[in-house]
Amino acid sequence: MDFQLSDDQRALRSGMRDLLGAVFDRGRLRAAVERDGALDRSLWRELGAAGFFALRLPEEAGGVGLGLPEAVLLFEEAGRALLPGPLVATHLAAGLVKGAAEGEAVVTAVAADLPAAHLAEADAVLVVDGQAPPGLPGDVLSGDVSGAEVLSGEALGAFVAAARPVRSVDPLTPLHRLAGRAVPTGAPQAYSGALHYEAALLTAAEQLGSAARTTEAAVQHAGERHQFGSPIGSFQAVKHLCADMLARTEPARAAVYAAAVTGDPAEIAAAKLLADEAAVRNARDCLQIHGGMGFTWEADVHLHLKRAWLRAASWLTVARAEELLAADLGAAGRLPRSSAAYGRPVPEAGGGG
């Protein structure tokens, strides 16, 4: 056992951080906010060229041939940097939707009654059945259907026309409300079990990156800002908020990394639950520590909080994660123990883990 990043994994992570520092610095982040989160297609292609979307495709299929642990490290960096766009859906669509792997296509996902992100800009949409991952007994959750459908071309046009744009609470994520519940009607083209769990895990990784970033921002501000003749970080009321932020981030990190290695559904649920909580609560504490500045549009902390809210509502909500984790307990423990349990991986899309 060696539950630490390998040298290659460290290099991959720092490479991603450098890349984002170069192609998505704070100036570009704020520019993205100014244009209401509209995607920068050339940035999308740059991510594609760097292997962000094709990471888990086999090398024979033009991919990078890496697994979920590596994907999780990249998504953590994306979450740190507040990188906009339907990153998870496009990554999962690599190999399934033409151009997704290369960053030529933007693929978003819609599920249940959640608003759809970046719908107007999408070249394809994954319509995923229900918000509930399969694997739970029907008496705990309903919606145990295993289909995901890809919409593009005319069908996509009609789908978008029926949706209504809303003023998004998150300045980096344009949203549409759908007319009704999203339900795939055609033949399933991907197994939604893998989609749900992998999407939940990659989303958790973004939350982790955000939680770590808001901790850093809070600590930095607490060390610089003076009141009563002292740095505010010398006051325990502030200091202890910062300590609790780290005590949320580190268990979440262990859970996310472990889930990426095992692919165990219960472990993924634990990762999502703890990472959601770390991202949302750390952003709140970071906001509080920034005082009046934290309530401004100018400070980045609201961007972290709003994005964290949206991610927490996506793929595996607190309520569903807790039910899943409850079902896993006891001698009756009814959850399958490995990624094999939630079925075939998305065709050609790596499956990883």
């Binding site: 060696d2 002292s230 010398s234 262990a254 807790e322 409850a326 307990l329």
Partner: protein
């Protein structure tokens, strides 16, 4: 990131399991929690069994009488012994987890040879005489005086909250050897024999009803100078070595045990029908996430110490802060599962609920852990 155990590690696990299966039925009956001499006998008998089988001081270095096992083998040992229902370290706690590692790290060859083998064999029990009535969180404010007189220190003062004092052979004692120096620089670390004249032990009753700890009064107790570990007035640094051990490795078995308790709570709730309450169910589900994460965090910490080959660092404070709170939540949930039975002290989990209350206090309170995390890990300025 590799969670798979190596072949050698699995082989180690297999041998250990076999030994546990053969050895555990030979244990004497569990003593009553209030019978301290019997508890001591039981805990040391178990330690002796470990010693004879070559599992004592597993991860201690060879020059301390240990087996030089890797941190991962130690983790496997703690996991498997807990899963097999083996006894806890119990009264051997201070010897194996505080005083012993300190002597191993800071003692002379002679001191290691004198004190460590009896700990590993289960012949001798240690207690920890750090806290005083006016020195708890502010441990460096301790006032127990040690005055040099020839080859002895003459020690006078009072210790409090000393666990296992009644049955201990030795006490790792912090004393003030230079009252004029700044408070952190006038402290020394002594090994005090508990049968020395001038020691009075007065047991204190905990809120759980038993006498887990005691007041220790010291009236001109003579402790030989050669019983000092580390240089005179360097005891604070020596102590920090001990405390980082305490925060780094002490809870591995407990996390395994908590996960088993959680499973048992789910089974019990299903049996009684309380499982139909989604609030309770989700509460238990959340605890599942917490303990899974704490287990993974433990593995990450163990792998880190395997790589650095070092003493566990302040990262243990993050773990302790989170774990102590979550353990209390576990037993609050247990009370909900028990319903009306939660008020019967003889019912399983009720005493655990009571003793869980000490977790945010003992070994550095949660407030102190937050100070440590904020100042030493995050680098925030010290308060005034």
């Amino acid at each position: 990131m590799d969670l798979a155990y190596t072949e050698a590690e699995e082989e180690f696990r297999g041998r250990l399991r076999e030994w546990l299966a053969a050895a555990l039925p030979g244990l004497p009956a569990k003593p009553s929690p209030d019978d301290w001499p019997a508890r001591r006998a039981y805990d040391t008998a178990w330690q002796r069994m470990l010693y004879d089988a070559g599992y004592a001081g597993l991860h201690w270095p060879a020059d301390a009488g240990g087996q030089g096992a890797t941190p991962t083998q130690h983790l496997i040992f703690l996991e498997e012994t807990e899963k097999a229902g083996a006894p806890y370290v119990g009264a051997n706690f201070v010897g194996l987890l505080h005083a012993g590692p300190t002597i191993a790290a800071e003692g002379t060859a002679g001191q290691r040879a004198r004190w460590l083998p009896p700990v590993l064999r289960g012949d001798q029990i240690w207690c920890q005489g750090f806290s005083e009535p006016d020195a708890g969180s502010d441990l460096a404010a301790l006032r127990t005086r040690a005055v040099r007189d020839g080859d002895d220190y003459v020690v006078t003062g009072q210790k409090i909250w000393t666990s296992h004092a009644e049955v201990a052979d030795w006490c790792e004692l912090l004393v003030r050897t230079d009252p004029a120096a700044p408070k952190h620089r006038g402290i020394s670390w002594l090994a005090m024999p508990m049968d020395a004249p001038g020691i009075t032990v007065r047991p204190l009753r905990t809120l759980a009803g038993s006498t887990e700890f005691a007041e220790v009064f010291l009236d001109e107790v003579r402790v030989p100078v050669r019983n000092r570990v580390g240089a005179e007035n360097d005891g604070w640094r020596v102590t920090m070595v001990t405390l980082s051990f305490e925060r780094g490795t002490a809870f591995v078995g407990e996390v395994v045990a908590c996960r088993r308790t959680l499973d048992a709570l789910a089974d019990e709730a299903r049996r009684t029908g309380r499982w139909d309450d989604p609030v309770l169910r989700r509460r238990l589900g959340r605890l599942n996430a917490e303990f899974r994460a704490l287990w993974r965090l433990t593995q990450a910490n163990v792998s880190e110490s395997e790589r650095t080959g070092g003493v566990p660092g302040v990262g243990g404070s993050v773990f302790k802060l989170r774990y102590s709170g979550v353990r209390q939540e576990l037993y609050e949930a247990a009370a909900e599962v028990l319903g009306g039975d939660a008020f019967d002290v003889d019912r399983e989990w009720v005493l655990d609920r009571l003793s869980s209350l000490s977790y945010t206090i003992a070994a550095g309170t949660s407030q102190i852990q937050r100070n440590i995390v904020a100042e030493r890990i995050l680098g925030l300025p010290k308060g005034r």
